[in-house]
Point group: C2
Chain length 496, copies 2
Amino acid sequence: MLKDTDLSQKISKEEYKSNEKELEYKLARLQRRARELKIPVIIVFEGWDAAGKGTLINDLILPLDPRGFSVYSTFTPNQEEALRPFLWRFWRHIPRRDRMTIYDRSWYQMVLNERVLGHVKKKELPEIFDDICSFERQLADDGVVIIKFFLHISRKEQKKRFKKLRENSCTEWRVTKEDLKQNKRYDKILAAADEMLAESDSAFAPWTIIAAHDRRFAARKIFNTVISALEEAINKTEKNPPVRSKKTPGTNEITEENANSSILDKVDLTRSYSLEEYRSKLDKKQKRLRELEHEIFVRRIPVIIVYQGWDAAGKGGNIKRLTEKLDPRGYRVIPVSAPNDAEKAYHYLWRFWTKIPKAGHIAIFDRSWYGRVLVERVEGFCSEEEWKRAYREINEMEKHLTNFGVILLKFWLQIDKDEQLARFKDRESTEYKRWKITDEDWRNREKWDSYKTAVEEMLQRTGTSYAPWTVVESNCKWYARIKVMDKVIKAIEESV
Amino acid sequence: MLKDTDLSQKISKEEYKSNEKELEYKLARLQRRARELKIPVIIVFEGWDAAGKGTLINDLILPLDPRGFSVYSTFTPNQEEALRPFLWRFWRHIPRRDRMTIYDRSWYQMVLNERVLGHVKKKELPEIFDDICSFERQLADDGVVIIKFFLHISRKEQKKRFKKLRENSCTEWRVTKEDLKQNKRYDKILAAADEMLAESDSAFAPWTIIAAHDRRFAARKIFNTVISALEEAINKTEKNPPVRSKKTPGTNEITEENANSSILDKVDLTRSYSLEEYRSKLDKKQKRLRELEHEIFVRRIPVIIVYQGWDAAGKGGNIKRLTEKLDPRGYRVIPVSAPNDAEKAYHYLWRFWTKIPKAGHIAIFDRSWYGRVLVERVEGFCSEEEWKRAYREINEMEKHLTNFGVILLKFWLQIDKDEQLARFKDRESTEYKRWKITDEDWRNREKWDSYKTAVEEMLQRTGTSYAPWTVVESNCKWYARIKVMDKVIKAIEESV
């Protein structure tokens, strides 16, 4: 594939200069328009060392408004990054809806250098290509324009450029031993790059190969590609503005199918412990959890625990007992409420990605990304297309996490409608609990059946082999707390 | 000082239990109230290894609403942190106005472990204590409640605890060789801690020494201290709500003193280059800048360049020429406009602290923290007290940066009123420039004299020996661009 590229392509200085300014103004105008329309843009630069990435990126950004973009340079992962799934650092830097991120090297390093250096094994490749494809599709579905360049030069040209860099005392340091080895390994990398281009080319994130022997030719092709991608996206958006939150009436009706296949109705809510039983178990389990917290720290195992459940199902108290004897340096409770404006300016999974714990630490999500298919679905805060898409997106994310080695536990705290009512009333009549109950809780209660439909569908569609749900019978809080602790202890014990 | 602490203080289990719940509810209530009133809280835990920091922090946070706080654990700085001034990572984690940050160890490590281990020299201490004092005062002035605990145990007790931890296979790993050495160096650390307590105790950020032999006694004292600090702050805020943005009429009038001592009027705006002169210099200087960019990267020198100036003074074009030949991986342009809501929820310097470049990189601020004493002052976006305080705060921050080795360059781009008018009109009549001119520009122009007063005062009060201003004659853009490049080249050359 790369071998067939015509590397002799050139543009003369006169031809280049003849419309340079015009193209720069055009690009600047399109950038401003994309900002207005809130079209986020990702531009990936991959390619050979010494192919001119730095220079060409600078050519591209100079005409742009600096308020609208940022450049992310991909180096060897630092400690913060190495202790997390490989997509983490790229998720953290995805563009806000009105911005552009230019990745100088990217997630594709996993299937290029990391692969050729043997850090990534051949058998891991299909998984990685899947992860990359999901990542790009999720962003594209959310409206991100993705443009990917591979800057191509021949082995001979690379050697010549390295030589030139080494002859100048100011640039000598830029050519490392690794780079020189890269030239020796040229053919191996070429094969990996060919495979990458074939495996990861898609309609929503296409590759453009840039013949980079002639800088003007390369710059011009990059400009033209970016310009036409932006024009296309702008035209499309002007014609069909994206629908981000449209109430779709009727989609939450209880169908007969749902009514018949209820998981929740089959839950045995009479399960309970006496106070005595509870107390005798609690202390032992809390101590065991503290031991295991140390264990996973030493072994660098990341743990994510997701709590979902009805209002007043006892999530807060459950989490408190789970963490009561833990070392606060090893766990973090992450309460999730409605996204703020800054968070809304990104893909809805972004705010959760930024909170993925380091390997060796425990993150406890008090509500989570499942809001998308629960409250956001029921209240119409996202479109039907969006929440339907979310099941797949969530499964993809959880797969990526568990592939990395995350122990992922998901709990649905189940109570019945009567129990909820009793607890609401108790909250209202107890002074130190009163802050916990709001009008919204009462409003949500009225939509119990719609929520139930959404919960059932969530349990069905996201209960995967790698990240199964546990429904926790929570009419008796004591029973629920011990059950969660048991599950957590068991899951960790199995993996250490 | 520490030696005089009565370490035999105890509380019996019965006494502790008798009002445990009551204090927990009280603390939870105060936390909620502080959130409502937007009172940020910082709690620092310092003290001996094995003094029980982990357990005591957990006791403190369990009754709290997890939406309201986060725990920051201070480890040896990672690479991202080591390449920046030591306060950077703590600034990044200061609490939002409605939140609490609990620092498990803190900036005081600089004068404790780092000092005892010899990483910090004795002669550096006064500077570090100054930096710490400024940091805490800036936050306290902004309304942050600062509570600092030192958990004290005797040498013997520490030894005993280490022994116990090592006897349990689950906790064995927690006692490192370093820890055992710490016990040997106990007296040295004690002396350092005594000095720290004396040097950094202040009304706005007082230390509380906690006798930590008895866990219940320690927990109780910590609870009581936090409760009374919160109560005091809440009472104060209820009586005198903070004024964050009050137009103070009259403060921007031109006084005779200002009219007489004008720096700006003495600037020779006739300075200029012909296009020929400009072109002959430009290319050479841009190439030199690219060389120096490599130079500072190799030597790990951080560079910060601040641009301020009148609307249409040519900041954008000046920056573009400065960066035209640079490698985009080594510099970043940071355009600064009005703070967004997320940024407004912190101390005004916070958003700049988060953008401090890594050593070896160049950050170019297109407008900066000086907005506080320019637009925010003139437009009344902050109170008079706030902008008056800002001169000192800015000098303190810049001192901290330059102490770390940052090359800090500040440019004021000066044009006269006629030149601005000509440029505004040009922008209006040129299609591809039109987006640059807004109604706000015309409104600002009407306040030229008020802005001039503010600029003059800024130049006077923040033109320090370590971070002097350069006024750049910018009626001729070509002259201005070359002058800035010259200054940058000279400053870097002097320091490499």
